[in-house]
């Protein structure tokens, strides 16, 4: 039997969970039947249109109803390079110097209302994402700026022509929000999908109660043989963590798919023992500390470097990991990716030096040189416990060790965005969350505001932009990795534009009768539930 192993503590205390790599599900025969009840840690999603929204609530609620073109491997979602076909027949090799991707679409797929799905539907959906018509919004439009043309030579082929070859395209194509809609419906009303659901996925919509729950039943015509194993599912909206934990305890729900903090994990394991299974994984989300370069003294690179040198990431991470959902120290690239820095490479960067005393001495020296010993400033933070407030509390303590006096200004999400966008802050605790691990696109975040509008650091850096453009077009793996190291060094060390805090850690509890679901590095991934089954 495949089990994630865990040690149950006799009393209260740290419980360690080991995330083992999933063995393929073929070792056990899935049983058909049963309804999976899970919690969605949000109030209702703003709309059901995946192209338009960015919240995981939309994905957790509606992904089971839809198909996508390609996706991360459902049985191996933690891999950052393993992409497989959902609606296509096989993963294409790019032709034309890497600029053209030709996809053949499966035959015999039907939407839930019986209409057959063809390449025209795939193309219509992708056109809505890449270049939406007037009045329609596409949240991730900028990811696909590299697409030059989208063609459908026949009813079973879709061709993407790019402006230049880049390794960033395929992961972007596997984005979990890129649901395939019916062309006939889109032609009549491109806004229809905001309030309605009509897909070709493993489940059909069975009911939606506002703010309460969403229900699905098996789609008997699903094109992956044997799937879905479940008869249906019920997703219950429950924003309060304590309620979710209690519900899992009392078996009112089998689990949730976003992530719980370590204390909840400890509590559930202590109470349920082997009736609950914990999966955990590094999360493609992290906190980023951004000083406002337009506010003195943060325009002085010495001050920024002092800020990062004061922080003891290597010792702070394990301590924080016991109380907050963070774990792995990393640079600007997700730690599981081939483009990420190794520990040795990281330790050469400011803020990651293995000798913290030396690091802090350097920080104090820099502050003294800039004439700003004992500098006092305000840290802007978002009003969410996990892990924002925990990280901030720890940071303030770290900074006090080099004489910096920092106070916190905690605001709800709305004012937090507003303060960042208007530049009304000294230093801010930001978050950076992405779905598919796509380092080339993910590090765009560190580019200056002129290129990436959501960068709130207010700095200019042409050298950084040039480095990035070179990296994006580089096709040789080793050279690209070297360029990434240069980029990273400039962002974190030389210019200390931003500071990357410990990457978040995803802990997913599922009652032991839930099988088949594997954890991935993002809570947006692998949510169509087609390969989940209940051992009851």
């Amino acid at each position: 039997m495949i089990r994630k192993s865990g040690l149950v503590a006799a009393g209260l205390g740290a419980v360690f969970c080991v995330a083992t790599v999933a063995a393929p599900a073929a070792a056990e025969t899935p049983k058909r039947g049963g309804i999976l009840t899970y919690m969605i840690p949000a109030d209702a999603p703003p709309s059901f249109d995946g192209h338009r929204e960015t919240t995981f609530a939309t994905v957790h609620a509606a992904a089971p109803f839809y198909s996508v073109l390609i996706r991360v491997h459902p049985n191996n979602p933690s891999s950052t390079t393993d992409f497989v076909c959902d609606l296509c027949t096989e993963m294409p090799t790019p032709t034309d110097d890497g600029k053209t991707y030709t996809f053949k679409i499966r035959q015999g797929v039907k939407f839930h209302d019986g209409t057959p799905l063809t390449a025209y539907d795939v193309a219509a959906s992708w056109r809505k994402i890449i270049s939406p018509p007037e009045g329609v919004s596409s949240a991730r439009q900028s990811y696909y700026a590299i697409v030059d043309k989208l063609e459908t030579p026949d009813q079973a082929t879709v061709v993407f022509r790019l402006k230049f070859a880049t390794g960033a395209f395929l992961p972007a194509l596997a984005d979990p929000f890129t649901w395939i809609y019916e062309k006939a419906i889109l032609d009549k009303d491109p806004h229809w999908y905001e309030k309605n659901i009509m897909g070709s996925g493993p489940f059909k919509l069975a009911g939606y109660e506002i703010g309460q729950s969403i229900k699905g039943v098996r789609n008997p015509d699903y094109y992956h043989p044997g799937q879905p194993y479940l008869d249906g599912f019920t997703g219950i909206f429950a924003p309060k963590q304590a309620v979710r934990v209690d519900a899992i305890r009392a078996d009112r729900a089998a689990g949730e798919f976003r992530g719980l903090p370590p204390s909840a994990r400890d509590q559930l394991q202590q109470e349920l023992g082997d009736k609950v299974v914990m999966q955990s994984s590094d999360w493609n989300c992290g906190n980023v500390i951004t000083p406002n370069h337009k506010k003195k003294p943060f325009d002085d690179v010495r001050v920024r470097r002092a800020l990062t040198l004061a922080i003891d990431q290597w010792h702070g991470a394990p301590a924080l990991a016991k109380i907050a959902n963070v774990k792995t120290v990393g640079g600007i690239v997700f730690p599981g990716s081939p483009l990420a820095a190794t520990k040795e490479e990281l330790q050469t960067l400011a803020g990651y030096w293995p000798d913290i005393e030396k690091s802090r001495a350097e920080a104090r020296r820099l502050l003294k040189e800039a004439g700003l010993e004992g500098l006092a400033f305000e840290l802007l933070n978002r009003n969410i416990d996990q892990p924002y407030k925990f990280v901030a509390t720890w940071l303030i303590d770290e900074w006090s060790k080099v004489g910096l006096r920092v106070t916190q200004r905690v605001v709800p999400t709305g004012p937090w965005y507003e303060s960042m966008r208007s530049g009304n802050f000294d230093v801010v605790v930001e978050a950076s969350c992405n779905s598919v691990v796509n380092p080339l696109l993910d590090v765009q975040k560190y580019l200056p505001h002129t290129v990436f509008t959501e960068n709130y650091g207010n700095y200019e850096d042409q050298q950084l932009i040039d480095l990035y453009q070179k990296m994006l077009r580089e096709t040789d793996g080793a050279k690209q990795r070297a360029l990434m190291r240069d980029f990273e060094k400039r962002v974190l060390d030389t210019e200390a534009h931003e500071m990357v805090m410990t990457y978040w850690n995803r802990i997913i509890p599922l009652r032991s009768y839930v099988k088949g679901w594997k954890i991935g590095p993002s809570h947006y991934l692998n949510q169509d539930l087609a390969n989940v089954w209940l051992d009851k």
């Binding site: 703003p46 960015t54 919004s137 439009q141 309620v243 519900a247 989300c285 992405n434």
Partner: protein, 323 residues
């Protein structure tokens, strides 16, 4: 009397318009933009074109005075507009959540009345005895305890006790089912929140009953009734209680209106899909139309409750009626 009623009803209008203006201004004072919130959730990058589109869709690019007039005029036509967050009509959003909140409020009131009035009366009759001290202590504990803390503790208690007694932890169901469909399921959802809210409610009512009864029991006509030789129970029921109930009824009416505010925190604790939770959500999302509608709903209930109570008072107390 008629003039009094008409006067009071007419006075509702400036109150409501005033409240509308206050909530309109307050919401727009809070920095933040629902479009950014909606499209930037989770920390992913936000598309500026999408935001501009969103503003146009929601009418946020119109001048403020136009938005305000639209809001007020809509309110009087009973058209509350579309929720900025979900795009559904506000009336639909509220209607989906009102039943459970009302149920909890009504249950809490019933619990409060059933407990408070008898206990308050006994406490007054036996002033300064040990019964009085116990009742007063219990009542004050009810007012002093934060209701959400009580909710957390009670939920934990239910889980732990059921675990200890039955071997498996039991928790009330987390999804709402209407009463006629499955009364047991429905009541088990509502009972813990109702008790949590009702405890405080009954505590306040108990104290008011006690002090009102104490005042009445000192009146001359009670002394006369006793001198006449009437049985104590008759005195209490026929004379004292009726007069004491006046301020108590006032309090119950006003506290019921305040319940809506109390529900906000309770619904968070128990994950009830009610109007309290909707209000918090609407404020956090900066959903102007929904927040405005909910606040106006609360304000209207409050002033109507006050009106009913005032009218009841006038009807029951001839001195006020003929003032």
């Amino acid at each position: 009397m008629h003039r009094y009623i008409v006067n009071r009803v007419l006075l509702l209008i400036p109150t409501l318009v005033g409240a509308a203006a206050v909530v309109f201004v307050l919401m727009r004072l809070i920095p933040g933009d629902i479009c950014v919130l909606r499209l930037g959730s989770g920390g992913m990058s936000v598309n500026p074109r999408a935001i501009a589109l969103c503003h146009a869709e929601l009418g946020l690019d119109r001048p403020l005075i136009v938005q305000f007039l639209d809001f007020v005029w809509g309110f009087f036509r009973l058209d509350f507009g579309i929720s900025m967050w979900s795009g559904k009509p506000v009336a639909e959003e509220i209607a989906a959540r009102l039943p459970i909140s009302l149920e909890i409020a009504v249950l809490a009131t019933v619990i409060a009345i059933l407990i408070a009035i008898p206990l308050g009366t006994i406490s007054a009759l036996k002033q300064n005895s040990w019964i009085d001290h116990v009742v007063r202590t219990v009542a004050i504990a009810g007012i002093a305890t934060p209701s959400f803390w009580l909710g957390i503790v009670s939920l934990l208690a239910v889980l732990s006790i059921s675990h200890a007694v039955f071997g498996a932890p039991w928790m009330p169901p987390i999804d709402y089912v209407p009463f006629w469909q499955d009364p047991l399921h429905n009541l088990s959802v509502a009972i813990l929140p109702a008790l949590t809210v009702g405890y405080r409610y009954s505590a306040v009512t108990m104290r008011m009953t006690r002090s009102a009864m104490l005042e009445v029991l000192r009146e001359d006509y009670i002394r006369t009734a006793r001198a006449k030789g009437l049985v104590e129970r008759l005195i209490v029921n026929r004379h004292a209680l009726k007069n004491a109930l006046l301020p108590v009824v006032t309090l119950i009416g006003i506290e019921f209106a305040f319940l809506i505010g109390g529900l906000v925190v309770t619904e968070q604790v128990f994950n009830i899909n009610g109007v309290g939770r909707l209000l918090v959500l609407a404020i956090q999302n900066q959903d102007y139309t929904l927040t405005q509608a909910l606040v106006m709903l609360t304000v209207t209930i409050f002033v109507l409750a006050n009106l009913v109570v005032d009218l009841l008072y006038a009807w029951l107390d001839p001195r006020i009626r003929f003032a």
